[in-house]
């Protein structure tokens, strides 16, 4: 009789249980995974909301492309928050991951920079402040004082760190600047929260907002970009420090050479990326500076 009673039940408890179990079994698991990697078995790559990670056909195509190129089976491990992927990396349950720049800096001791995607030809992106298209008179962050604001993820740079830094630059306390804030756990959902009117403003990854404008133009058209942050280093691919140098190199070469094959170019087109570059940690100095401002690094 009633449609829609089958709700998407939050998986958090289940995930927490999984993580807890994983912690308990950590020691043995690490040994096992090392062995697996060394034997040239399955490679596990963490995928995060750093891009539109819920496009399942795209992910399938990419995984097959990667497996063909590396001649090894590849598993993409999707998680809905950076925190979960970070946990998996800390637990050594992933060899590689595409994470945000902010988690990369958090995990500096655990991971190494593998490659940085090139967006519009450059390894940079920004944080966009967006509001509902009908919200007239809002020209900057200052106009959003005492309103409801949507953050993407507590470990997102453009969706959390950057907007809070901007508020701090205004000389205000980000903890009390807004009337209420909440996390949507992905950039795409920040756009949805703003478009539906749930939040008056939101901070979103420029790459995702612009990509979404191609994928779901109707949704993006209901939002308006108010201001842009300075450029930050693009969310990088990282490798666990336990990954052997040969494997590291193989993966890096694969990523950097994506644009050299037809299939790779097609894939990049779907990702709205131009290719990959090796990158340097110095790309992320801007983020590190903001983190220091909040006493985090």
């Amino acid at each position: 009789m009633i449609e829609g009673t089958q709700l998407a039940l939050p998986n958090r408890n289940r995930r927490r249980w999984l993580i807890d179990s994983a912690c308990l079994a950590a020691a043995g698991m690490i040994g096992l995974s090392r062995k697996a990697a060394a034997a040239g078995k399955k490679i596990r790559v963490g995928m995060t909301p750093a891009f539109l990670h819920d496009q399942h056909s795209l992910l399938g195509e990419w995984r097959d492309f990667m497996a063909d190129s590396l001649k090894r089976p590849v598993e993409f491990v999707q998680r809905d928050s950076y925190r979960e992927t970070m946990d998996l990396l800390r637990l050594d349950k992933l060899e590689f991951a595409w994470v945000c720049d902010y988690p990369y800096l958090h995990l500096k001791d655990t991971v190494r920079l593998l490659a940085v995607p090139l967006y519009q030809g450059r390894p940079h992106y920004r944080s966009y402040l967006i509001v509902h298209k009908d919200a007239a008179g809002i020209r900057s962050m200052a106009d959003l004082q005492d309103s409801v604001f949507a953050y993407a993820d507590p470990y997102s740079n453009t969706g959390y760190l950057a907007p809070r830094y901007e508020i701090r630059q205004l000389g205000r306390d980000p903890a009390s600047f807004f009337r209420k804030t909440f996390f949507t756990w992905s950039h795409r959902k920040v756009v949805e929260a703003v478009a539906s009117g749930l939040a008056r403003g939101g901070a979103v990854d420029s790459y995702i907002w612009e990509t979404l404008a191609h994928v779901e133009p109707a949704l993006v058209k209901r939002t308006r970009m108010v201001s842009r942050s300075p450029e930050y280093g693009f969310p990088p691919f990282v490798a666990h420090r336990s990954v052997a140098p040969a494997e590291f190199r193989q993966m890096q070469e694969h990523l950097l050479g994506t644009g050299s094959s037809e299939a790779g170019r097609r894939l990049l087109a779907r990702l709205y990326l131009d290719g990959f570059t090796a990158g340097t940690p110095a790309l992320y100095d801007g983020v590190a500076q903001m983190m220091r401002a909040f006493g985090e690094a």
């Binding site: 009789m1 009633i2 709700l7 939050p10 209420k180 909440f182 996390f183 749930l198």
Partner: protein, 493 residues
């Protein structure tokens, strides 16, 4: 309005019953519609209760952890913007926190988060007041604010014992109406179908019941002028009040006919009696001088000095006087003769006496009598009656026709002699029947018209009864004579 009640039953019964059928269908239909509407509302409330419980349970942890986005995804999930809307389709979902402000809603633009219920409009204000009222235990709380086009169903959001807030589901009543209208049309169609079947049946039944009544009324309408015809028996062969009425009517008609027949009989008897007295008086007045005249003529004829011409004239006068005497004697029926009981010989004599006439007209005579050895009836008079009736019948029957006689004790009366004579000649007209027994009423050429008159006089003077009638293609004369002092039962002719 009065003309409606003056209508013939032929129209009134079908009209009234049609009206009653239509009225009942309307009332039952309206009751069913109301019931359908209430059922629909109840179904909406039940489904809302189910949905509400599911949503309240799933949204509780989000409320506890202040996870606005996931709560939004949950309350948003039952909302369908584009699909066909049904009455059970929830219009909006709102989660109120403990502070009675909107924690999250499915429609943040019209029901923004953090707003107080009172700021959302009169409906929500009334709802918040009800939710805040103490002693509220009956969940779900169903509220239909006056003048509102929405129905609200509220449930508590609890975690263990703690109440975290309220979940409110809003249903648009405007969606109910098209569904309800559809149901009405459906019901109306069904009702019309039933009417289409029932009304012709009812019309037929009504006229079936009314037509005997109409017939009856028409017959009774002719009553003062003439005795009405009885109803045909197949017109209404049932024993209900209507059937009883028709039976009573038939009995009444029968009684009236008998009364009319009796009256006619009385009138005829009185007329015949008057004629009898008149003729008897005239006969006596004629008889006295006649006897003198006859004596004078006889005396004259004894004289010798009369010439032949005078004698011829005297003979002429004598024959004329004799004819007068015979005629007067016939008019003056004398029954006071010495009574000899009737015996089989008398009947044989009568048979022998009429035989030449029967043979001459080649008549088949069907003779049957159940005659005991003797009957206490005056023999000579009965002989005369028999001869008169039989000769009359033989004359009336067609050449080579049939005449029958039946004689015996009357079936229902031991003290009654019954004579029935039939012939297959021309039937008697009503006019003839009315004056049959009057003197000189003969319709037959050559008849003097005194035979039946004499018979009538004899029967009447013997306290008997004579009747004539047409039975089928026969003419029947029935004579009933009392055998003693008790008169015959004359009810049957």
């Amino acid at each position: 309005m009065r003309w409606l009640f003056n209508l013939s039953f032929r129209h009134k019964i079908p009209l009234w019953t049609s009206f009653l059928i239509a009225f009942s269908i309307f009332v039952v239909g309206a009751a069913l519609m109301t019931r359908a509407y209430q059922d629909m509302k109840a179904a909406v409330i039940i489904s809302a209760d189910n949905l509400g419980h599911t949503l309240a349970n799933t949204v509780a942890p989000m409320l506890l952890h202040d996870d606005v986005w996931r709560a939004f995804e949950i309350v948003r999930s039952p909302i369908r913007a584009d699909s066909a809307r049904s009455p059970a389709q929830v219009d909006a979902v709102v989660v109120f926190g403990r502070d009675r402000r909107v924690f999250v809603s499915s429609h943040p633009e019209s029901l923004p988060m953090l707003s107080e219920a009172a700021a959302l409009g009169a409906d929500w204000q009334a709802l918040a007041a009800r939710l805040a009222s103490p002693g509220l235990v009956a969940w779900p709380l169903v509220i239909e604010p006056e003048g509102s086009s929405y129905l609200y169903i509220a449930l508590p959001i609890t975690d263990k014992d703690a109440q975290l807030g309220h979940l409110v589901l809003r249903y648009a009543k405007s969606v109910f109406h098209p569904w309800f209208v559809a149901t009405i049309w459906q019901g109306l169609g069904l009702g019309l179908l039933v009417l289409a079947v029932l009304i012709p049946i009812n019309w037929y039944w009504g006229s079936r019941m009314a037509s005997p009544l109409v017939d009856l009324a028409q017959r009774m309408g002719t009553m003062p002028r003439q005795v009405p015809e009885p109803l045909p028996p197949e017109i209404y062969p049932y024993a209900d009040e209507l059937g009883q009425l028709f039976q009573a009517y038939d009995r009444m008609v029968l009684a009236l006919r008998e009364k009319a027949a009796l009256e006619n009989e009385v009138v005829r008897s009185e007329r015949l009696a008057a004629i009898g007295q008149l003729t008897a008086g005239i006969a006596h007045e004629i008889n006295n001088p006649l006897a003198g005249l006859i004596t004078a003529v006889d005396t004259l004829k004894l004289r010798r000095d009369l010439d032949a011409k005078a004698l011829r004239h005297l003979d002429l006068i004598d024959r004329g006087l004799m004819q007068i005497r015979d005629t007067v004697a016939a008019l003056l029926v004398q029954t006071r003769v010495q009574a000899r009981p009737l015996s089989q010989h008398d009947l044989d004599d009568v048979r022998t006496l009429i035989q030449p006439q029967v043979a001459k007209r080649r008549i088949t005579l069907d003779w049957s009598d159940t005659m005991p050895a003797e009957l206490p009836a005056p023999a000579s008079l009965v002989r005369q009656i028999l001869i008169n009736l039989l000769l009359n019948a033989v004359q009336a029957a067609a050449e080579g026709g049939q005449v029958s006689l039946w004689l015996g004790r009357k079936a229902d009366s031991e003290t009654c002699l019954s004579i029935v004579v039939r012939n297959d000649g021309t039937l008697l007209s009503n006019e003839q029947l009315a004056h049959l027994f009057e003197p000189f009423a003969s319709t037959r050429p050559g008849g003097h018209g005194l035979g039946l008159w004499v018979t009538y006089q004899i029967v009447t003077q013997l306290n008997g009864r004579i009747t004539a009638r047409n039975v089928g293609d026969h003419v029947e004369f029935v004579v009933n004579l009392p055998l003693g002092d008790t008169p015959c039962n004359t009810a049957s002719a």
